[in-house]
């Protein structure tokens, strides 16, 4: 498929966003020979040595500590699940991540659709709008929200005109939701747009010529075709939201703490390695469950879309 330079750049950028649990299995049709070349694996060494020493070893050793520190056993997990505070934080992390994902998908879908129907120059401008935040430091972006949402900030000043004295958004779950959604939005727009830009609009014309009203054609033809993009956007957003740290810490109060904050407090603040790593393992397991469930759903919808496209060709 011929791609305009602009979309190809975007797809380079959004591959970062799209590839999630399962990377598309690239089996090249062409290779110089079929024989295995063990020498090639040597080329993997530099990357893997760094990764093994400075990522996997520390990560596994801390996860191991959840079972061994201060003594072998399950006491750290007993502690985690017996403290209502911990369960509240776990629940809050899940709920806020869930709502952030919902908000992002609801906002990203029409945004991405609009991108596919405007002329290239407008699209370029809107892409800039999505990509600049994507590139901008998380701390800078969250800092901007600190200025905006504080009582003496521009929104607060504006509301004073209407007699609202205290905006009172800062340090509430609402502030965390607004900030996180803005930070994560580009990660949802890009995969949805990439999928949408490949949808053949003639399918809609076909549906309408067969008597479907525009809304029906949209819901029964277009929406299912865009599902793979929605699925990968949702997955990415949810998984990233679960691990969030900076935004809840800067925009929320201690009552909006995420699991990440709890881990940092236990490990660095109180040197409770066992407790901290137990929370870490819980967070990891939750993340993996969500990855598994979503990619299973994604595979299903992906399959049905494939059938549909195949069917439309027949």
């Amino acid at each position: 498929m011929p791609q305009s330079p602009r979309t190809s750049e975007i797809s380079t950028l959004s591959t970062r966003a799209i590839r999630t649990a399962a990377l598309p299995k690239q089996r090249r049709p062409l290779s110089e020979s079929g024989r295995k070349r063990p020498g090639l694996l040597l080329a993997l060494l530099p990357a893997f040595v760094v990764l093994a020493i400075f990522y996997f070893y520390p990560m596994f050793s801390v996860l191991l500590m959840s079972f061994t520190d201060p003594e072998p056993g399950l006491q750290n997990f007993e502690w985690f699940f017996s403290q209502p505070v911990n369960l509240q934080v776990l629940w809050r992390t899940l709920i806020i991540s869930f709502w952030v994902t919902i908000i992002c998908v609801i906002l990203a879908f029409p945004f991405a659709f609009f991108l596919t129907i405007v002329k290239p120059s407008t699209r370029g401008l809107l892409m800039l709008v999505v990509l600049i935040p994507f590139w901008t430091s998380m701390v800078v972006r969250t800092f901007a929200w600190v200025i905006l949402l504080q009582d003496s900030g521009p929104i607060g000043q504006f509301m004073k005109l209407f007699g609202v004295d205290e905006l009172g958004i800062m340090r509430t779950p609402t502030a965390v939701l607004i900030g996180m959604a803005q930070v994560l939005m580009p990660f949802v727009v890009l995969p949805i747009y990439t999928t949408m830009s490949k949808i053949d609009m003639r399918l809609l014309t076909a549906a309408r010529s067969l008597g479907a009203r525009p809304s029906k054609a949209f819901v029964t033809v277009y929406l299912p075709l865009s599902l793979p993009g929605i699925a990968s956007g949702t997955l990415l957003c949810f998984v990233m939201a679960l691990g969030f740290y900076i935004t809840p810490a800067m925009l929320g109060s201690s009552r909006e703490a995420f699991l990440s904050t709890l881990i940092q407090g236990q490990v660095q603040g109180q040197s409770n390695w066992g407790y901290g790593s137990a929370i870490g393992l819980v967070l990891l397991v939750v993340t993996l469950i969500i990855l598994g469930v979503t990619s299973a759903i994604g595979r299903k919808t992906g399959g049905s879309v494939h059938d549909m496209v195949g069917g439309s060709k027949a």
Binding site: K25, Y55, M59, W135, S137
Partner: protein, 271 residues
């Protein structure tokens, strides 16, 4: 596209504009904020002054942090790009099953919440005296940046035609020559994108960094983060504006230098 009615288009346009403002406006507010004369985040500023820029450029802490971040970012970008590109090419060529699983392994730092790795790195660094060392920072940031490099290089590898290499080889070019004169120029845009990603990853990193910083080695985002959470020193607004300015510059560079390169190499392959 005539599929979409005029009203729908207008409505969508209005909605999109609102979202666009929501995405961009918060960042633009940082610029005027950095020129306030007040010592608080009063907005709009009552008086204007460049004193926070002065404070940034005369403070050894802020300048030191900026220097550390740039140094760590550049070293990370160079090493991660070289190691990641070699690995990506190897995985792309190898037919072995191991290479496929290697790819999954390489990508884990993107999926696992960074705080988990951070906590582990904290214990590891305490034990091995790596806290507050540039070496430690660079190594950890390489691990975090590798997935992005691999993805970016992969994207350009999957788009290019390997028969070009065969053609060059059949015309008598040696392996190294094929690699340097055919492969490298063709995947250069992906490699450049990977390098930029790696730099940005390192330059932004806070979650893992907070476990590695020491009083003698601070990074810019760490300084900003602790400045927002502990003090209300508007120097952070100046720092944020400088970063934003740099990002906009980098973006323009990407758009007008790297992207045209990509276009040209696409044309050369004739795809």
């Amino acid at each position: 596209m005539n599929q979409v009615s005029r009203t729908t288009k207008v409505l969508l346009g209005a909605f999109t504009t609102l979202i666009a403002i929501w995405l961009v406006a918060p960042m633009l507010i940082v610029f005027p904020m950095s020129f306030t004369a007040d010592a608080s985040f009063q907005f709009p500023p009552r008086e204007w002054s460049a004193r926070w820029y002065e404070s940034f450029f005369t403070s050894p802490q802020w300048l030191g942090a900026l220097g550390n971040s740039v140094l760590i970012g550049v070293l990370t970008a160079i090493i991660a790009t070289v190691a990641g590109t070699i690995a990506a090419i190897a995985m792309h060529r190898s037919k072995s099953r191991m290479a496929q699983s290697a790819q999954m392994l390489l990508l884990t730092p993107m999926i696992v919440p960074p705080i988990i790795a951070g906590a582990g790195i904290y214990t590891f660094f305490l034990k091995s005296n790596l806290v507050g060392t540039v070496f430690g920072f660079v190594m950890v940031h390489i691990a975090l940046a590798l997935p992005l490099v691999v993805i970016a290089v992969n994207a350009s590898l999957s788009g290019y035609d390997q028969s070009l290499e065969l053609a060059a080889a059949s015309l008598g070019a040696g392996r190294l020559k094929v690699f340097l004169t055919v492969t490298v120029p063709l995947i250069a845009p992906g490699v450049a994108a990977g390098a930029v990603f790696a730099f940005v990853t390192s330059f932004d990193e806070v979650i893992v960094s907070q476990f590695m910083v020491s009083p003698t080695l601070q990074t810019l985002p760490m300084m900003m983060y602790s400045s927002v959470t502990r003090t209300t020193d508007p120097t952070i607004a100046a720092a944020a504006s400088l970063i934003l300015g740099a990002i906009i510059f980098a973006f323009i560079f990407f758009q007008f230098v790297v992207a045209p390169l990509a276009r040209r190499s696409k044309k050369r392959t004739g795809s």
